[in-house]
Amino acid sequence: MANLNVSIAGVEFKNPLIAASGTFGFGHEFSELYPLSALGGISCKGVTLEERPGNPPPRIAETPAGMLNSVGLQNPGVDHFIRDDLPWLKRQGTEVIANIAGNTLEDYCSMAEKLSETAVDMVELNISCPNVKQGGVQFGTSCAGVEGITAAVRKYCRKPLMVKLSPNVADIAEIAAAAESAGADVVSLINTLTGMRIDIRTRRPVLRNNTGGLSGPAVFPVAVRMVRQVFRRVKIPVVGMGGVSSWSDAAELMLAGASAVQIGTVLFRDPYAPLKITEGLNRYLDENGVKNVSELTGAMREW
């Protein structure tokens, strides 16, 4: 049996499968199905400084091999997370990543400071959420924006800091480099691509927020390309995601350059996906005589 352990910025994940932020809540609902210790880690639903109601419904639309969501960071606030969700999560035997989003730079810093006092294993900076008016993606689509916020948060964050990148940019490698130079320990990508669907009967967007974030298998080729681009550009580890739905997709993203893989949308179709993907990876590694899953990272050979 291959070694599935991956070490990222000093955090030891027992396997490279991490639940993607916003698709797994704070873990309670999935823990009815299997012990969360089956997962390498959990990136929790994005939290903000204060509680947020999120966007009006409908928030979900199906698209070919994908979906749009416009949840818009509905969450109980960082303090509630620290008090009510984190202690339970930390007892589940998996690494816990806090995903944070803010309206302002100060929001981000203040959350990073609070979380540094807690047992969270890593902080993921969500500067790429397309579904909120303020904050989120506006920090994430320019190098200066990414550099500014990363450097600021870095000062307050005593946890390993992972910056989550938006795919809605012309050159994601430059953005990743900006995050790296400003002190990010890890980058994760991709967040959702902005999309829209229209109900041709009502002539209204299907989502009440008009636009939403595209995720699922449809975006997988874009994720593979971007992970590769970023892997070649930065020295810090890359956590890959975007449309992974099978063990072979996970392997593919790791070959492109990911040190670990987050999975989101596939959970809606198959909540047991993390178990199946881990199992499949294990078999693949054994069949190919690969001892450590981390040997896959970046092992793709360009033509």
Binding site: G25, H28, P53, P57, R59, N69, Q74, P271, Y272
Partner: protein
């Protein structure tokens, strides 16, 4: 038994009830034991990213079956309608918060419109002859589940839009003469509004089953938001898949 689980459920029986409404009974093992009236299932559709939420119409606790009655509305339900006995559906169930049945010796009223009927059947069964069921359909051809409700002993009244069966007009026009201690409803929004207003007027509780577009179906993704009136009167978002699909109508903004 887990609160809910995924299971490959073999189809035992399948019938077409009307032009586009299908009636499917599956072997559901422990899922059936755990299920309660008003809960729902998320059924996977080959080739589709998201499961489709379908209410549990009946629970065969002894035979471990679940019955689903659904209408073809788009691509997903069309694919589900193509499944035949012997094939298996991939079902995540039972989900959500069903009807609070309370004292089953009360006189209760069930109000359903068209495809809003199926979610009411399992609950109506527990009330038997104490239940009056007022059901509205487009026309005589669109009537479903009449025999099923009657077999439960319920007192059944039908209204059709075109008068081809029963009362010619809206279900709500049949309600004024009835006496009841609680209401259970599912159907189009205008109907729910009228029923909930009547219940409020009479001072009796009213539970309604709601719909919203879903991803996870279990409360993790926060996709299926619905505006709820908090205890303080303030509006906040709850979630149809976890807090519902059945809500007390007094906390909904219908």
């Amino acid at each position: 038994m887990k609160k809910y689980d995924v299971r490959s459920c073999t189809i035992l029986r399948k019938n077409r009830l009307t032009g586009d409404i299908y009636d499917v009974t599956v072997e559901a093992g422990l899922l059936a034991e755990a299920a309660r009236p008003g809960q729902f299932a998320q059924i996977a559709v080959p080739g589709k990213t998201l499961r489709r939420p379908i209410s549990i119409c009946e629970i065969g606790a002894a035979e471990h079956t679940l019955r689903f009655v659904f209408q073809v509305r788009g691509e997903g339900t069309a694919i589900l309608a193509g499944f035949e006995p012997g094939e298996a559906l991939d079902v995540l169930a039972p989900l959500g918060h069903g009807f609070e049945l309370g004292d089953t010796s009360r006189r209760v009223l069930f109000v359903g419109g068209g495809i809003g009927l199926p979610p009411l059947l399992a609950a109506a069964r527990t009330f038997g002859a104490n239940a009056s069921v007022v059901a509205g359909f487009r026309s005589r051809d669109a009537v479903i589940l009449r025999d099923d409700f009657e077999a439960c002993g319920c007192h059944m009244m039908i209204a059709t839009d075109d008068g081809s069966l029963g009362h010619h007009g809206l279900v709500t026009e049949l309600l004024s003469g009835l006496a009841f201690d609680a209401v259970f409803a599912c159907g189009p929004l205008p109907m729910l509004r009228a029923v909930s207003a009547l219940a409020a007027e009479r001072g009796v509780p009213c539970q309604v089953s709601m719909e919203e577009r879903m991803a996870c179906g279990i409360g993790a993704c926060l996709g299926c938001a619905v505006s709820l009136r908090g205890p303080d009167g303030a509006e906040r978002y709850g979630h149809v898949c976890k807090d519902g699909p059945v809500f007390d109508s007094s906390i909904l903004f219908l």
